[in-house]
Each structure stands twice: as structure tokens, then as C-alpha cells.
């Protein structure tokens, strides 16, 4: 019996590794081991007011901070009977567009791309691909700026609150965002062309099930009240537990999910599979040009999906700015009840994020967060196992197999810190 280890998985957030157990050429198991310590954040917020909860819960993650905040707002507003004004909803959508640009630019270029181009890191890429790296940094900077303008600051912005915004962004800063988004569209198009030109190894290919929110009005988007499943079914977000079926495994501090006993995928590729036909603009043209059957089988295509999605987000920012600017600043909507429950579902850059709350006498009684990475972990292991089996059958060396496995894991854009928020687990 032999073990092939990737002890510390680089270019992902948090502390995780991969263990492959081999019996000769036969792969006995492949596990993504999550070592990151649990944060118990759902317990921390019990007994807090919903407003205080909003200042604690996004701390679970500094990159999807706005996704966490938005999911929490959606769940809490539902529980408290708050209907947010249209301007608040549009400004929230704008901040999500910014977060998507920020996160997808970082992941595609600086985390995933080095693998495809044969470099150990983006730092090593700098001499040969300096312009591409700087383009990614410019896009990330712009995404950060949109987040700061809408939420108040880049990390853990506190402007989006229950019932509206503490302060709506001003006209001048929004118009600057609109101009800059227009300017950056050609950069995002170049990024799509680059990712479309890459060779995506086939080792991990297998049938997949994809889940994402169903954005309203048959549009593409990052929040919704129902979940689309690629088998043609649709479910209300309040049934999130039936979709995710969380469970604990012995080798990981993060919970796992299965849908009807099968692994499933959330993320940009899932959004493209479920809502790709709703894309518009150049993003739609490029999606039509590059989408094929392999997208439904190969998790590595998530990188291309993220590049197309980033373009869509950029293209939509000017329109969203106009819609926000067309409305006066409304007053903050107040809660209409002190008891209730609600689930918020949004599309974080790395997949569907659920926040469920139960409120009793105006205080948080139950908080339940299901992160995209926790939903993806079983799927990652499934596709890593296939990769290991197929590469070993072709007599690939250990280093090549290691790289193949890392590429699969990284393609999901995992955030391990965020996925280990809950479980207290005894290692057996």
C-alpha cells in the first residue's frame, strides 16, 4: 500500500491537503483533508439581535464577505417580514457584480492559470505573462472598488443593512464606476479568449449534477428564491436541507453534502449550465461560441465559466448603475414581526451560499450556514479519484498525478476557511 500526498494544497484559501491511497496501480481512496480549525460562528451569533448578527457573520470570510452579508440579509429580512426597497435590491446586485469581478479575476489568473501554463505560481509567470497578471490585478482592483463604494469598504463593509442601506453610494462615484466598467470590458474579453484557448485535460471527466440559484425574471444573476438543478428539477430555497443533506466525515473538519446520494457541483460552471442561455452581450456570444458537451462533465471548465461570468458582470455594471441612479434614496424598511424564520440563498463566486435563521423574540435562536465549498467537497473527491485512476493507468509519474489532482481541486475555487465554520469533529 502506498500513499501519495499533497500535504499543503497551495493556491487555495485555508489549510487543506490531498491524500491518495494506492494499492499497486489501483486507487483505494482519494480524500481532500481539511485541517483548518472550525470557527463555530453559528454558535457565536445565537442570542444576538439580527443587526448585530450582520456585523459578526460576514467575518466568516474576507473574500465572500458581501455574499455572506447578502445571504444573511435575505434570510433575516424574510424572517422579520421586511420587504426591501427596489433601490436597496439594485444596489445589492451591484455590489455582488463587484465581488464577482474581484474574486473571479483573482482565481482564474493568479490561482488557476499557472497550472495550465506550466508555472509553479503567478509570481513565476510574471516575466512571461506580466501584462496578463497586471490585467488581473486591475480587474481585481476595480471589483474591490465597486465593493467599497456599495458596501462602505473593501472588506466587511457595513452599509448594506436590514431594510436598505446605511448610506447609498453617491452619483459621482457611481458614474465613475460606470465609466471604468466600460473601459475594462475589452480586458475581460481578452481573458475569456485566453481561457478558451487553454487545453483542459480530460482525466476528471464524468457525469455531473449542477445546482445554482434561479435568478428572477429569467435573467442571469447571483440571488434567487429557488434552486435550479441540472436534472430539470427546481426547489424552493427553504428546502435547502433536502438539497444539501449535510453530513460529517472523519478526515475533514468541513461538512459534506450529497443530493439524492450523488455528489453535485456549485459554482460558475453550475450557473452557466443552469442559466447560461440567459446571458446577454458579449458574454452570451462567447458562451455560445465556447460551450459544448464537455462543460457538463469536466470541472476544469469552471475556470472558463468564471472568465465569461466576469465579463458578464462587467457588462452589467453600467446598466445597474443607471437603474440605481434613477431612484431616490428610500427610507430603511423596519421589521414587521419579532418571530419567524427565513433562508437566504445567493451565488458567491464559488457557488451557492445558504444562510438560514430562526428568530425568537427579536433575537437569533438558530443560525445555519451552508457554504459552497462544503457542498463541493464530495464532488472534488469524486473527480480527483477519477483523475488519479486514469493518470495512473497511463503510467503518469507521481508529480504529474499530484499536479493533475491539484488542478481539479483548484478548479472549484475552494475556500477552506469558510467551509470549516461549524463542525466539532473527533478524528478517529
Amino acid at each position: 500500500m502506498k500513499e501519495l500526498n499533497v500535504e499543503a494544497l497551495a493556491r487555495v484559501e485555508g489549510d487543506g491537503g490531498i491524500t491518495v491511497t494506492l494499492d499497486g496501480k489501483k486507487v483505494k481512496s482519494v480524500t481532500l483533508d481539511v485541517h483548518e480549525g472550525p470557527r463555530l460562528i453559528e454558535q457565536l451569533v445565537r442570542g444576538l439581535t439580527p443587526a448585530d448578527d450582520l456585523n459578526v457573520i460576514p467575518r466568516i470570510c474576507a473574500i465572500c464577505t458581501l455574499s455572506h452579508r447578502y445571504a444573511a440579509i435575505r434570510g433575516l429580512e424574510k424572517a422579520l417580514g421586511i420587504v426591501p426597497p427596489e433601490k436597496a435590491q439594485l444596489t445589492r446586485e451591484l455590489m455582488m457584480l463587484g465581488e464577482n469581478v474581484e474574486s473571479n479575476s483573482l482565481h482564474t489568473f493568479l490561482l488557476a492559470l499557472p497550472d495550465f501554463l506550466g508555472y509553479p505560481s503567478a509570481i513565476a509567470m510574471l516575466n512571461d505573462y506580466g501584462d496578463d497578471v497586471k490585467r488581473a490585478l486591475r480587474l481585481k482592483k476595480f471589483g474591490n472598488h465597486v465593493m467599497a463604494v456599495t458596501s462602505g469598504r473593501i472588506v466587511h463593509g457595513e452599509n448594506p443593512i436590514l431594510g436598505g442601506f446605511g448610506r447609498y453610494p453617491g452619483r459621482k462615484e457611481l458614474e465613475e464606476i460606470k465609466l471604468k466598467a466600460h473601459e475594462l470590458v475589452p480586458d475581460a474579453v481578452r481573458d475569456v479568449e485566453l481561457f478558451a484557448s487553454l487545453e483542459y485535460p480530460k482525466y476528471s471527466e464524468a457525469d455531473m449534477v449542477f445546482m445554482s440559484v434561479n435568478a428572477p425574471k429569467k435573467q442571469y444573476g447571483y440571488a434567487g428564491e429557488s434552486i435550479l438543478i441540472s436534472n430539470g428539477k427546481e426547489a424552493n430555497v427553504e428546502d435547502y436541507k433536502k438539497l444539501t443533506n449535510e453530513r460529517v466525515v472523519s478526515h475533514s473538519f468541513a461538512k459534506r453534502s450529497l443530493y439524492q446520494d450523488k455528489t453535485f457541483t456549485v459554482g460558475a460552471n453550475a450557473r452557466m449550465i443552469n442559466m447560461g442561455k440567459r446571458l446577454d452581450g458579449q458574454a452570451a456570444d462567447l458562451f455560445k461560441e465556447h460551450f459544448d458537451e464537455r462543460w457538463t462533465k469536466n470541472p476544469l471548465l469552471n475556470n472558463l465559466a468564471q472568465a465569461i461570468e466576469m465579463l458578464w458582470s462587467l457588462e452589467h455594471i453600467p446598466d445597474m448603475v443607471d437603474r440605481v441612479l434613477a431612484l431616490d434614496n428610500p427610507p430603511i424598511e423596519k421589521p414587521t414581526r419579532e418571530n419567524g424564520s427565513g433562508t437566504g440563498a445567493v451565488e458567491a463566486p464559488r457557488g451557492t451560499l445558504y444562510h438560514h435563521y430562526e428568530i425568537k423574540n427579536g433575537l437569533i435562536d438558530v443560525a445555519d450556514i451552508i457554504t459552497p465549498t462544503a457542498q463541493n467537497l464530495d464532488d472534488i473527491e469524486k473527480h480527483m479519484k477519477l483523475t488519479a485512476e486514469r493518470m495512473l493507468a497511463e503510467d503518469k509519474g507521481d508529480e504529474e498525478v499530484r499536479l493533475g489532482l491539484e488542478m481539479v481541486a483548484r478548479a472549484y475555487d475552494p475556500c477552506i476557511s469558510c467551509a470549516t465554520h461549524l463542525v466539532t469533529l473527533k478524528r478517529i
Binding site: 484559501e13 505560481s121 497586471k134 473593501i154
Partner: protein
């Protein structure tokens, strides 16, 4: 947080001397990194935020968007030096401080949360800008924990030393 081991810490005198030799000429920018939600991991942010009160155009923290700030500085037509301040695992006692020159930055990691300092230093280098990292050994990185006394003292010392340096060089 940076990971550096087997590196002796700098005394206050050493530190002052090393800081003075790094930015040979031009403006000095300070960029504070870290996570204030994790106790001493926020040391760099505390230094940068304190300096920002006196040098609002030359001191930035993670909250200002580090990558964008680095790009802006890199593309400015001026001589300058960027000093990153971050918590770093030096394998020493809490509060120990170490200055690491750009050529000695070995970090290769990029996470979903931030671009590696080594990449940012390389981008700066490609635009003929100098850079260095000051690491502070944390005593605790507990989630929602308090900054420890030794790290608080080191933050105060760094604010004082960097204030002197920026006052001397940024005119």
C-alpha cells in the same frame, strides 16, 4: 501571515539601521497586511492605520485594497519604496520583529483572500520600485481574540520608527 523560520529577530537599534538602509531614496509607502479578526494577525493593519493619521497618502492597509494600491504606486513616475508590514511566523518570541529584503521574500502562496506579497514585490520591482517586508511574530491568532501585549508594544515601536523614516524621506 508570512511563514519564516530560523530568522533571528532585530533589536530596536538593528531595526532602525536596517530600515534606514532599505529605502535608499524616494518616497516611502507603508502597506499593512493581516486580519484584525485574528488577534495579532492584525499587527500590520494596526501599524498602517496608525501611520495613516499622519501620512494619509502614504500609508494604506488591507482595508484599502492592497493590490490596487500596489499597482497605483508601481505605475507612478517616481522613485519609491514600499514597506509591507505583516504578522510573520518567525519561530521567535511574540512581538519579535524582522525586516526582510525583497530578494529574500520566499513566500509563494497566493490565497483567495489576497495576492502574495512576493508577487506584489515582483510587480513593484518590474517598475523599478524597492520593497521590503517587516514581520512581527504573533503571540495569538485566535479568531476574535485580543492583541497580546508584546505585539502591541512592537506595533508602537514600528509606528515610531516608520514615522521617523517617512518624515525624513517623504519630503
Amino acid at each position: 501571515m508570512h511563514k519564516l523560520r530560523d530568522a533571528p529577530g532585530d533589536s530596536e537599534e538593528d531595526l532602525r539601521a536596517r530600515l534606514e538602509t532599505i529605502p535608499a531614496e524616494g518616497r516611502v509607502y507603508v502597506l499593512g497586511l493581516g486580519n484584525t479578526d485574528r488577534a495579532d494577525d492584525g499587527a500590520g493593519i494596526l501599524v498602517a492605520e496608525a501611520l495613516k493619521k499622519r501620512f494619509p497618502h502614504f500609508s494604506f492597509s488591507e482595508h484599502d485594497g492592497i493590490e490596487g494600491t500596489v499597482l497605483d504606486i508601481a505605475e507612478r513616475d517616481e522613485r519609491s519604496t514600499v514597506i509591507f508590514v505583516d504578522a510573520g511566523d518567525l519561530g521567535l518570541g511574540p512581538g519579535s520583529i524582522k525586516v526582510v529584503r525583497r530578494e529574500d521574500i520566499r513566500e509563494t502562496e497566493i490565497t483567495t483572500h489576497r495576492v502574495a506579497v512576493a508577487l506584489m514585490a515582483s510587480v513593484l520591482g518590474a517598475h523599478q520600485k524597492e520593497s521590503a517586508v517587516i514581520c512581527v511574530q504573533p503571540g495569538s491568532i485566535e479568531f476574535m481574540g485580543q492583541v497580546t501585549d508584546p505585539v502591541r508594544r512592537s506595533v508602537g515601536l514600528l509606528v515610531q520608527l516608520l514615522t521617523d523614516l517617512m518624515t525624513a524621506r517623504d519630503r
